[in-house]
Amino acid sequence: MNNYSIWVMEFAHVPNYHLSGLVYGAHNQGHVRLPYCYVVIKGHGQVAMVDVGYNHKAYGEVLANLYGVRDWHPPREVLAECGIKPEDVSNIFITHAHFDHMGNIEDFPNAKFYLQERELSKWVWAMSLERRFRWLMLGIDPGDILRAVDLARQGRLVCVNGDREEVLPGIDLHAAFDTHTWGSMYVTVRARETWVFCGDLAYRVENLRGTDPDDPQYIPVGLATGSQFNLIMTSEAMVKSAGGDPSHVIPPHEDRLKEMFPSRQTSAGLRITQLALADGDKSLV
């Protein structure tokens, strides 16, 4: 058993996002609130995170004006709720290279970043293609690539090839190639219970359980560079990693986490969801 506290921290949200973008084929089924979150894992003298969000200076106004993203708050403010400073974060697991998961590297000056090498190499390959292939570059920011250069030169970029066990005590990285992106990965944490952090391999509970509680099924996410088949099979692998319990596979964009686990809203209106509490840590909810 590993003595970890784990929190899902909201840093922004979209008030009304169409469900069909999140759940494959859910057309004309309305809109849902879509939170943007990262995960904080604290224990064994370390602070780790799953993803880092996006950089408001670079995209905030565009996102707010065009896409309705609201209430972005910087990591310094969000993490202060856990008594953590960005400088304290030692290890960051990037589930995939989209700007809203990898776009805030520079706010974590002491962290080592783990990313699948395939994610990097395939994005680089996609850049060499002609203009008509530009859909493959969706969500990628040249600025993030430049920041990755800096990370690599500082020895803070760890390119992972496939699965890697015990990257920290009880924390494993699992490759999910050709799914949401070419080199996505998910993270398992064995605390008192086992938790799986899936990035965008699932956006909603429906991706992992379907819509009929009496007859569950996997339904892929609404956006994939890779294949729906691989997403389905990865969903099965993630649920198995969570001991067969889909409620322990955590999609950070799922607004209903607050109904599933102890949660509260901060004074800034951001949600904190507490999944595990280490001995000696204070509850945040």
Binding site: V14, H18, V62, S128, R134, L138, P142, G143, L146, C159
Partner: protein, 139 residues
């Protein structure tokens, strides 16, 4: 982003230069991609990497278009940013012939900043392709 209204001639300028902006952004990404490979110790990061050839060709075409387009008074700042970005990328591509990371990285960073500024002077120019993107970007 500058939200002042755009006149018809400037709107035509925007349509004419959008591809040029995207191509310069792509050139910056391509050079940065090779730099990542170099910084991560990739053996393929050599001056004859195919992506650098592709970047040089795309840059040639984009720089030609920057030179030939005539900006309106409203678009002058935007055009100046494009020209500066093209010039910076030219320096980076020259340095890539020797695969020197720092002399490549500094102008690429400068080009990125010029393109960001261009995006702030007129509507319709974004550093990230958000359309149909993930995580709520088409809300």
């Amino acid at each position: 982003m500058n939200s002042q209204p755009v006149d018809d001639v400037t709107a035509a300028y925007i349509l004419e230069t959008r591809k040029t902006f995207e191509d310069l952004r792509q050139v910056a990404s391509q050079i940065a991609g090779v730099l990542v490979l170099a910084a991560a110790g990739g053996k393929s990061a050599t001056p004859d990497h195919p992506m650098l050839e592709a970047a040089a060709e795309l840059h040639r075409e984009a720089a030609d278009r920057v030179r030939s387009v005539r900006p309106t008074p409203r678009a002058r700042a935007h055009h100046a940013c494009l020209a500066q970005a093209a010039e910076a990328l030219s320096l980076a591509l020259s340095a890539s012939q020797r695969m020197e990371v720092e002399p490549m990285l500094i102008p690429v960073r400068a080009a990125y900043a010029h393109l960001q500024r261009a995006g702030n002077t007129l509507p319709g120019f974004e550093m990230v392709a958000f359309e149909q993107g993930c995580c709520g970007l088409t809300a």
